[in-house]
Symmetry: C2
Subunit: 142 residues, 2 copies
Amino acid sequence: MNESRIQQLREYLNQNGMKQTKQRDLIASTFFKTKKHVRIEELLQEVRKSEPNIGYVTVYRTLLLLKECGLAHQRHFGEGQSLFENAGEHHDHMICIKCGAITEFEDDRIEDLQEKVCESFNFKMVSHRHEIYGACSRCQKE
Amino acid sequence: MNESRIQQLREYLNQNGMKQTKQRDLIASTFFKTKKHVRIEELLQEVRKSEPNIGYVTVYRTLLLLKECGLAHQRHFGEGQSLFENAGEHHDHMICIKCGAITEFEDDRIEDLQEKVCESFNFKMVSHRHEIYGACSRCQKE
DNA sequence: ATAAACCTGAAAATGACTTTCAATATCGAT
DNA sequence: ATCGATATTGAAAGTCATTTTCAGGTTTAT
């Protein structure tokens, strides 16, 4: 199924007069294989295991590209660096302020109520973020 | 009622061996008088109408101070600069991606469900952010 | 195989803070 | 009201995480 994502990327490249390169292939496929959320720097370290000469900028640009074609989302939890998330079903996040662990959650009832709120304001929702910050169960014990 | 906030600030300063200065007074009272959300730069322009020599850094530090004593919240909508919000009851936000207008909303049912989600993950919530991005009613017409 | 268009990586530039530091102002004690 | 120890100020320098620039290097349609 990572194959189909690579395909999706290639189509996007073609349709936009962009070229397929080994760097893009490597970066994208590595991204699809990593855990759900990665920082640019982490992904860079990962791809350099295969191609030590790849530059930060290329990873950065490829991630923006994946974002453009809908295969990745960029998240800004708290401060500092942003995380890129493998696209998939929509989820919201719980972020542990102690250890940084990210847990995803989904609640249709919340989503419904959210829609209702928008209707009541005559607001047309395009996207949303719902993040809960606190202590994960592991960190509560310590 | 802005008076009571100024009082609150003074008490905090006293209790922490900090000093009351005319810059802090001006910046704080100006902040309390502005619209609910301001950027550092905007507040700087505002206070400079009374005191042209006030520096960016002083506004910045005063805002952090207000945040420390609970009189302001710092928000990071989208990218770029952060906004400081006059503290008050808790609200979530709807941000228009066209004109930037910010509307607040509150829904107890959502808050309840959020608590339930946390319980189910044994997660101890400290804070949360719930932001809806889209087009406000005014911008939908255009 | 060629040329036009696109990519790459290194380095420089940017934006939004944060920190440093010498000069100034504050406040409790006199 | 004056002192002096301590805190605050503003300008300038420093950080950090991207973003942009640019001189080669690749791709790909022909």
